[in-house]
Symmetry: C2
Subunit: 261 residues, 2 copies
Amino acid sequence: MQKETPAELRQRIRAGQHTGHTSGYCAGYVQCNVAILPKAWANEFLQFCQLNPKPCPIVAMASSPGATKIPSIAPDFDIRTDVPRYRLWENGRLDKEVTDISSVWRDDLVTFLLGCSFSFEEALLADGLEIRNITEGVNVPMYDTNMTCQPAGRLHGNMVVSMRPFKPADAIRMIQICSRFPSVHGSPVHFGNPEDIGISNINKPDYGDAVSIRAGEVPVFTACGVTPQAAIMAAKPEFCITHSPGCMVVTDMSNSKLAIL
Amino acid sequence: MQKETPAELRQRIRAGQHTGHTSGYCAGYVQCNVAILPKAWANEFLQFCQLNPKPCPIVAMASSPGATKIPSIAPDFDIRTDVPRYRLWENGRLDKEVTDISSVWRDDLVTFLLGCSFSFEEALLADGLEIRNITEGVNVPMYDTNMTCQPAGRLHGNMVVSMRPFKPADAIRMIQICSRFPSVHGSPVHFGNPEDIGISNINKPDYGDAVSIRAGEVPVFTACGVTPQAAIMAAKPEFCITHSPGCMVVTDMSNSKLAIL
């Protein structure tokens, strides 16, 4: 069977034929988190991302309010139709999930696409490292921390981190590999004792699923794209749109192009 | 006062005016460990270094047995006079320390210069990291481990490691910086639990001095240039020469030139 290209998958998404998650689809290509905000919030969000690049790495953004195309990630991309499943939020509360936002699109909406851990996980697997959440077939465990983000206007909050356990020698290799990918969260922010960063129970993640930590392994913590979403929800904009977790924008950019060296 | 150049320091060493350690001299320039072996051992040593590049990183070697010049590290360098203090070994036992080996030089001796942690410590300090053994004014703690080196002929043994404690976020940065310097031991080989690599008491180093490990810090272990010396001594060549610990070859190469990126 011919492998599906990102353009082919986006075409199926646009036609309403693929409305689920994108994990494992179009291996080798960058997938992105989505945040769509009214213009009145966009500058603050951009500044928040600029100040907190590890949890909020911007891969691309729309060139102006209302713009629906982002040619740098794919020539045919349309933000209104090319995400499998969206979440509509009102005043910080989830209103509903939809598979097309054409009918709610507004000329003041600004689209941001943020890097996602799928890219660096692929690089780790290619190097022969085991990623526990993939081995165990669950979502990566994510935790609220006491590490404060730099605030920007109404946007503030603590960093959310994802956790993957490794033996120390593998953790050193993981740090080297992730350092090559600053636009998908970059090097880890902590390893070892979870309490050092305000995590009281490693077996009870705040988001995602718990994974096994085996004897001789240490938990390694990476800044997580849930951070900007949590900051937005806490600030309660009157309206905003995100992707539904796991249902990402699939771009034409290859993961290897994200490597800085 | 004008800063002394490597050429000026070597001139003083050659004249017998500097016979002590070289730590802190000629900041910014590469210093090297010395191993001088009879030709009958040289190929095995070269192979041992090739198989174990982290503990045994060759910066330069003499072009042939008996050669006393190594122009690639300094045009005027002479191995017989330019090390502040040498150790002469017979059958694996220390015979004596001298400050000039002209009178014992032989046409079958092959000189190897190996990278030294001074280079990466300078890069760490330049980045604002604290190095505990420097802060506490003692030699770095070094430990025998259970990590086996790849054997080469008569040369075999376990890896010796040095240890520097860091907070996890600083350890991540230290891993990034040291990864740029493969010719001075490169990235660490372990962090965290010392028993994982066969170290039973972190407060009793096998070489060097103990340092404080503060709350929230983890010990980070790097392959150490004592490894090849220990392998040589265990193999008991009838004759060999090393530098006296801390009394290194000072080269004209800048530390920054060792960075691979």
